[in-house]
Amino acid sequence: MSSTRTFSPNQLRDYSSLFSRSAVKEWMKGNLSSIDFKISRYDQNWYSKTKRTYIDYLKFIYSVLENQYQNEYILKNSFLNDWLIKEMGESNSELYSEFRIGNAIADLVMFNGISRAFEIKTELDSDKRLNSQLDQYRKVFNEIFLIVPVSKIKEYETYDSNVGIICFDILSSKKFQLVRPATRSNHIDAESIMHIFHTNEYKEIVTYYYGQLPEVTSFNQFEVCKGLISEIPQNELNQLFINKMKSRAGNYDLSARYYKEFNQLSLALRMNMKNRKHLFSILKAPLKV
């Protein structure tokens, strides 16, 4: 069966629900009914001599979506595979999907020597919240990138010229291209990072920088540490923040080669190697149909 077939928008939307957190959580428990359901609804005859496991079917669905329904999952996953994983290989990096900063959630963020936020705007997304999102990201990240479709480059170029732009054309051989680099800033807002840190993280930073933690109670530790952290020079604070985010690390086994269709899900669910192996061992079962 080839993915050059044309599918209705409803069917594509229905397929796309397979690449969701809730679906994968069920698979991890051994419940593959969400996949069985799609097969019985659309693909009763989906077979080939060599491809007959759940994972084969999911790869097929992924390729259909990649060609015909580029939703946020597909875009993020492609960006991970085509861009970020390469960069990760070169340095000790930490990646997060859906990273909360104030009232905004950055699609992807990466910490290595510097901190970077990536905001994806598909054809379907509006730019209504973009200014307030950028305001939040600027408080914390050294570089900010927008990932936008080729057709919308002009529109997004009018935003803050410090923000980098990466354009995508997912069907071309070079899916992502840098249109404009980001200007690096080391400005870091202590109040904003206090809301990102876990309690032990801000305590560790104070202890590390000042040599000890002052006497605090659980009621006032946040305010006391915030005061001390805001006095750390920006460059040093930036580095302390990046190091702390890197040390939260999951032991991900993202791979641009194997099961690359599932990288973004691994990241979103913060799956470690063991979880990933467990998931694939379940999905390697032959289709029940």
């Binding site: 206090m194 309690t199 006032n220």
Partner: protein
């Protein structure tokens, strides 16, 4: 008699363990536990303390929620490993009379409690054959006033008939409690006997819905019940003020606790649960959300037990 319905999770069990150890609820309260975890560790710890304190508790053997939900044998097998009299058998009825009758027979159970919705038709033999078994001694029915034929049927059986109400008004978000100061919570303890019930049930100051896990809240709320001058139970919600992010849960607790402690001290409210809250507040110590929940449940059960014991 008060029958609080609680999930058998760690802090629910600790709540009852502490109350039993204080000898605060024996004779007037029988908790009903719905286990939601496959493991029995917390139930085991509680069992020893309940047994020593001569406190019994119902255990729902076919829970409606959680890891082992449904009509299985997991908790039946567990019950068999324990000496009789401390954990008592309870079943959720959902047109599963066969399952329950077989379980009673196969496991040689006595003194069973049946928990049902008020939509049961008493002339349906699936229910009536179960209800009339000698081994079934008690019924717990949600909002029973809405099905008079069921109520009338159960009263005629001359077994224990317990009403279940769900007075806790859950809000979409914890921060939604902020503008709600206080309101009447429950008066079943005043009227259940006059209305012909042997006891009453509720979910204490927790929502009846089962939510697995839970994320860090944006607001911390301390729900405290108390008796007013007419002996009605009222509830006050003490809610943190800075609820714009999930950071600093300790600070949010400090805000909510300050309100709660000031109110209780000004109104001379005190019991072992509130004393624990006062201690954490005075020491500026954040005990964790599980303990906050425990304090709220414990306070409520103490209020009800105190009333029932003083009648």
């Amino acid at each position: 008699m008060y029958y609080p319905l609680l999930r058998a999770r760690q802090f629910e069990l600790i709540t009852i363990r502490e109350l039993v150890a204080e000898n605060a609820i024996q004779d007037v309260i029988t908790p009903i536990f719905e286990p939601v975890k496959e493991t029995h560790n917390n139930l085991d710890i509680a069992f020893g303390i309940f047994q020593q304190g001569a406190q019994s508790a119902y255990l729902i053997l076919n829970p409606g929620y959680g890891e082992m939900a449904g009509d299985g044998t997991h908790y039946l097998d567990y019950l068999l490993t324990k000496e009789q009299g401390t954990y008592l058998p309870a079943f959720r009825y959902r047109s599963n009379g066969d399952y329950i009758r077989n379980a009673i027979q196969d496991y040689n159970l006595t003194g069973c409690l049946i928990i049902c919705q008020n939509d049961v038709n008493p002339s349906n033999p699936d229910f009536s054959e179960l209800a009339e078994l000698e081994e079934v001694v008690a019924f717990n029915v949600e909002d029973p006033g809405r099905n008079r034929s069921l109520s009338s049927y159960l009263r005629d059986l001359n077994k224990l008939f317990i009403r279940l109400d769900d007075p806790f008004e859950r809000q979409l978000r914890n921060s939604d409690f902020l503008p709600i100061a206080e309101h009447q919570f429950s008066e079943e303890h005043l009227y259940f006997q006059n209305e012909g019930y042997s006891g009453f049930s509720d979910y204490t100051v927790l929502p009846s819905e089962f939510i697995e896990g839970g994320s860090t809240p944006r607001a911390v709320v301390i729900h405290l019940t108390y008796l007013n001058e007419q002996n009605q139970i009222w509830i006050r919600h003490f809610t943190s003020d800075t609820n714009d992010s999930i950071a600093n849960v300790q600070g949010k607790f400090a805000e909510a606790a300050a309100k709660a402690v000031n109110y209780c001290r000004a109104n001379r409210l005190s019991n072992s649960a509130l004393e624990e809250l006062f201690d954490h507040f005075d020491e500026q110590h954040y005990p964790g959300l599980g303990t906050v929940k425990k304090i709220c449940m414990k306070n409520h059960i103490l209020i009800v037990a105190g009333y029932l014991r003083s009648r």
